[in-house]
């Protein structure tokens, strides 16, 4: 296991007016991250994603529980963890008045690399992250996406065995996002493990091997994207008809046809929840036609991680983001 935590917990105590206030940011989480996987930590604002990432990177001291990172004890072997882990915080951390190259070279040197190697690695990342056009300018002149690319390169410059990324693609345009996903996937080939936090369901879905959904400081559910989605139930097919009457006729027919599915008429449409909606659909349409119950439109929707989130928390992740 690359990361293993038992009951990891962080309670912040902030002294303000009216005495001490406690914030239970992370309420005892158990994580198991395997070597070489991309592990996604998905959750809304304030869920405790950054707090967890900071504990794993030795930046915050847990107030409870235990953790092993790369086999080292988080409480006692911080130096070894720091040497072998790469970390990119949510806010970045590039030195804005220095150039990108200066940032990269210093970062590599701080990991103990000699100047020559540091420069070589810096050049390698400039190439890899396509930063050649701006990297010799002071970082304060970069666009948001350019700065984010530099932040991420800074976390990877020393070729760590484990990479902790806090919302790596927030603020990137779709093209840079896709490119970065590609780079992260490539890390798997060289055996690097990636732990990333995200608020984006599509990111968790397309990029991650394992997803843990965190809400309110607790892990609600863990699994592969497809495991999670099938835990919500099957696909949903929505047939729409001209009149409510036709819809009710269709409801009866479909209930006979697929006893395993869940069929429900709503106004002039019928919702059918079923395991393998895609393969069933043509057949269902044909049998409706045979009884001259003509559907005007059909849509098939597969469960999304949002449905997963909705099922386990009773809230929608998307709504949460809009607020």
């Amino acid at each position: 296991m690359v990361i293993q935590t038992i009951g990891l917990r962080k309670t912040f105590v902030s002294k303000g007016r009216g005495g001490k206030k406690e914030v239970e940011a992370v309420k005892g989480i158990d994580l198991t991250v395997r070597k070489g996987e991309i592990y996604g930590f998905l959750g809304p604002n304030g869920a405790g994603k950054s707090t967890t990432q900071k504990m794993l990177s030795t930046l915050l001291c847990p107030t409870g529980g235990e953790a092993k990172v790369l086999g080292y004890d988080l409480a006692r072997q911080q130096e070894q963890i720091r040497q072998n882990v790469g970390c990119v915080s949510q806010a970045g951390g590039a030195d804005l008045s220095s150039t990108g190259v200066e940032n990269l070279v210093l970062q590599a040197q701080l990991y103990g690399l000699d100047t020559l190697t540091a420069k070589k690695y810096a050049a390698e990342f400039v190439e890899r992250f396509q930063m050649g056009t701006f990297i010799t300018r002071p970082a304060q002149t970069y666009s948001g996406g350019q700065k984010r690319r530099l932040d991420i390169a800074l976390g990877m410059i020393h070729h760590p065995k484990l990479l902790l990324l806090d919302e790596p693609t927030t603020g990137l345009d779709p093209q840079s996002r896709a490119y970065l996903w590609g780079e992260i996937k490539k890390l798997k080939d060289v055996g690097v493990t990636v732990f990333l936090t995200t608020q984006y369901m599509d990111e968790a879905d397309k990029l991650c091997d394992t997803i843990a959904i965190i809400d309110n400081g607790k892990i609600i559910v863990t699994g592969t994207p497809s495991e999670l989605k099938s835990s919500v139930g099957g696909d949903t097919i929505v047939f729409s008809f001209q009149t409510e009457e036709t819809a009710r006729k269709a409801e009866t027919l479909l209930t006979e046809k697929v006893p395993k599915g869940k069929v429900q008429a709503k106004n002039s449409s019928v919702h059918l929840t079923i395991e393998d909606g895609e393969t069933m659909m043509p057949d269902l349409l044909r049998s409706l036609d045979a009884k001259s119950v003509e559907a005007q439109g059909v849509t098939l929707s597969r469960p999304s991680l949002d449905d997963v989130f909705l099922k386990y928390t009773g809230r929608s992740l998307r709504e949460d983001q809009i607020k």
Partner: protein, 253 residues
């Protein structure tokens, strides 16, 4: 030694920042130069008063002025650290294996170098005004100023790490520097002061530094005050530096 190597890396990084905007090195010399040009002439009228032997006003005033520069020139360096905290640079350093004291040591050493440059320039400007310096005494004085600068810079960084925002930092630093400078006989010798004020100044470690540097400028090496000044300021510098490092470590908690 990794501490040495890390300190060197941090020192170079901070020096690069200073060199990028060299004008600030000179801006903070404006105040002492104003004292030199617009205040020192007043002292000529006080010649013969206690602590100001006839014809020696400049001799008494310049060493004190350099201590003033050491105090005020470095007292506000904490603001640059707040910038680095806010942009996440310090957190980024803290997750690397870099030795924690090196992060602060690289900064206070940069501050000391900048301060010494300023002190040398001020002294050069003062020579036409009749200042005579014992060169060995002057070099030793520079060491003393560096220690004072390291002390003030460490205090400044320590509070910056505790507050993490500018608003609270400036009033705190002013509250510290003002009594320190008034109670160390920098502008006028404390020999002029009433007894209770002289007694009060004895609890101010920096007053010993001012005495020490005046003796050094005069080449009066037998004075016991010199050793006293070095020991007191040296111990103080070490104490506040480690307090600063503790604040830095606490940031990650």
């Amino acid at each position: 030694m990794t501490l040495l190597r890390d300190t060197k890396l941090m020192f170079i990084r901070n020096m690069q920042h200073t060199i990028r905007t060299p004008v600030f090195v000179f801006v903070s010399m404006f105040q002492p130069l104003m004292y030199l040009l617009l205040f020192m002439p007043l002292l000529n009228g006080l010649q013969g008063a206690p602590g100001i032997p006839a014809g020696q006003a400049v001799q008494v005033f310049i060493p004190g002025l350099l201590v003033l520069q050491a105090l005020f020139g470095t007292a506000f360096v904490g603001f640059s650290l707040i910038d680095d905290i806010r942009s996440g640079v310090i957190e980024r350093f803290l997750v690397t294996p870099v030795k924690r004291p090196a992060i602060l040591l690289g900064r206070v050493l940069r501050d000391a170098v900048v301060l010494l440059l300023q002190c040398i320039l001020i002294t050069l400007v003062a020579i036409p005004f009749g200042l005579s310096v014992n060169i060995y005494g002057f070099l030793l004085s520079l060491l003393l100023y560096a220690l004072i600068g390291i002390t003030m810079a460490s205090i400044s960084y320590g509070f910056a790490l505790i507050y993490k925002v500018e608003d609270a930092l400036a009033p705190t630093l002013n509250t510290i520097t003002l009594p320190i400078s008034l109670l160390s006989g920098i502008i006028l010798p404390l020999a002029l002061a009433p007894l209770w004020l002289q007694d009060l100044s004895k609890v101010n470690p920096f007053s010993y530094a001012v005495d020490a540097t005046r003796s050094l400028f005069a080449g009066n090496f037998q004075s016991l005050g010199i050793l006293e000044g070095f020991i007191i300021i040296g111990v103080l510098a070490a104490l506040v530096f480690f307090w600063g490092v503790r604040s830095l470590k606490k940031m990650a908690s």
